[in-house]
């Protein structure tokens, strides 16, 4: 038994314990915090399973944005859940039967880590052996994400954009007049040290996001991760210095335009290759040398993804936070 497998067993055990804790806890605030721990653990698991890009995404999404959105919802809806659960036993029976059937199903699964399992034989060998010659990037995940499965990623970007529109249309575009009342007292004004340290930390976070964006071809990273990190820096600014200050720096209507612009950038890269006589999103049409074309294409497409993800995350946070401010009078 290798040391990796041992760590795998321990981390998965922690995950189960944490999930049980989330299920048992009556306090939703505690549940959200345990969910944060759950996400930290799953990221460690992804690192152990060699999925560094996935761990990167989980790191920036799970612990940061997801916790922030859950917490801002909780301040609007209340901290405790009603203990009267109607169908506890029925639920347990259903879950038990489904679980046993699924566990029975695992006996047919290939052995964990088997290099000759059906999953490993179909497409992966082609990607691993040929992607460097065809795309020219060391990070296979980026090659597959942006080039081989570029159409799929385009769809995912559109889904994120649509979700952003959905949140905006559910919770309203404008924040109305109540922000004027609240702009006098900045939140967290009593935490002086926090404000200073945040001021020091925000520029490195932004620069690091740019590094993740443009280094994603060579190491773990890419548009999705960079977008979330960039948004996290702006969210930190908005939380520490107040929503109105942040709105003055980053105009919300500009953010909304940017979220559409990212998708458009992605789509127009596809159209350009279309017009040059190749297939949609076939980047080799972008330059004389097909490899250079792939580089340009991946750079532009990742940039589009990054812009859309940043803009959607920021506008979703702004929408939730302005609701919270309206509800609670705007100051802490």
């Amino acid at each position: 038994m290798t040391i990796e497998f041992l760590i795998d067993i321990i981390i998965l055990g922690f995950l189960v314990i944490t999930a049980v804790g989330i299920a048992v806890s009556k306090d939703l605030f505690a549940s959200v915090m345990l969910a944060g721990i759950y996400s930290l653990l799953s990221a460690v698991f992804f690192v152990v399973m060699d999925a560094v890009d996935v761990a990167f995404t989980e790191a920036s999404v799970g612990a940061g944005i997801s916790t922030i959105l859950m917490l801002s919802t909780l301040t609007l809806t209340g901290q405790f859940e009603d203990p009267s659960r109607h169908n506890k036993i029925l639920g347990f029976v259903v879950v038990f039967i489904t679980g046993s059937l699924l566990i029975f199903g695992t006996t047919d699964m290939p052995i964990f880590g088997d290099a000759f399992a059906p999953v490993q034989l179909h497409l992966a060998p082609h990607f691993i052996e040929n992607s460097y010659a065809e795309i020219g990037l060391p990070n296979i995940v980026t090659s597959v994400l942006a080039s081989y499965r570029g159409y799929d990623t385009f769809g995912e970007t559109v889904v994120i954009f649509t979700a952003g529109i959905g949140v905006l249309s559910l919770l309203g575009f404008s924040s109305g007049s109540s922000t004027r009342l609240s702009s006098v007292i900045a939140p967290m004004s009593q935490h002086k040290i926090l404000r200073v340290v945040s001021k020091i930390l925000i520029p490195p976070i932004l620069i690091f996001a740019l590094y993740v964006q443009f280094h994603g071809d060579y190491g773990p990273g890419g548009g999705f991760q960079a977008g979330v990190i960039f948004a996290a820096a702006i969210i930190l600014y908005a939380m520490v210095f107040g929503l109105d200050t942040a709105r003055r720096v980053i105009n919300q209507s500009v953010v909304q335009v940017l979220s559409a612009l990212g998708v458009l950038l992605y789509g127009s890269v596809g159209l350009i290759s279309f017009l040059n006589g190749k297939n949609f999103l076939d980047y080799s049409a972008l330059a004389h040398d097909p490899l250079h074309g792939q580089h340009y294409g991946i750079l532009l497409v990742e940039l589009g993804v990054g812009i859309t993800v940043t803009a959607v995350m920021v506008s979703v946070f702004f929408t939730f936070a302005s609701r919270v401010d309206k509800e609670h009078g705007g100051n802490a």
């Binding site: 009593q190 935490h191 040290i193 926090l194 340290v197 020091i200 930390l201 490195p204």
Partner: protein
């Protein structure tokens, strides 16, 4: 060889400090004492572990990334502890005193 021994020493002491801090967070009687146990050992423990890793790495990029991690931990960890303690004090949580001592401080 000497560097190896120093880095192993750093890793071991760092690991020990992590465990002792965690025992502190588990065993101490109230929030403020737990926070003291956590933050004091956390800084030194993570510092020593990162130092041990720095001594083991050969590429400069790895070393600089490790130093960045150390810098960020040293910036953020005390700050969040401070903010947390302040918020707890504001919410009315009072530091634990020995049960026999006078209870007249609110």
């Amino acid at each position: 060889m000497i560097i190896d021994i120093i880095s192993w020493f750093c890793l071991l002491v760092g690991g020990f400090l992590c465990i002792s801090g965690a025992v502190g967070i588990f065993r101490f009687p109230d929030f403020f004492t737990r926070m003291h146990a956590a933050s004091v050992t956390d800084s030194l423990g993570s510092g020593l572990i990162i130092l041990g890793l720095v001594l083991q790495s050969s590429e400069w990029i790895v070393v600089s990334k490790l130093i960045f991690i150390l810098l960020f931990i040293f910036l953020t960890s005390p700050t969040s502890s401070h903010a947390l303690a302040k918020a707890a004090l504001h919410s009315g949580l009072r530091p634990w005193t020995k049960p026999s001592a006078s209870r007249d401080d609110k």
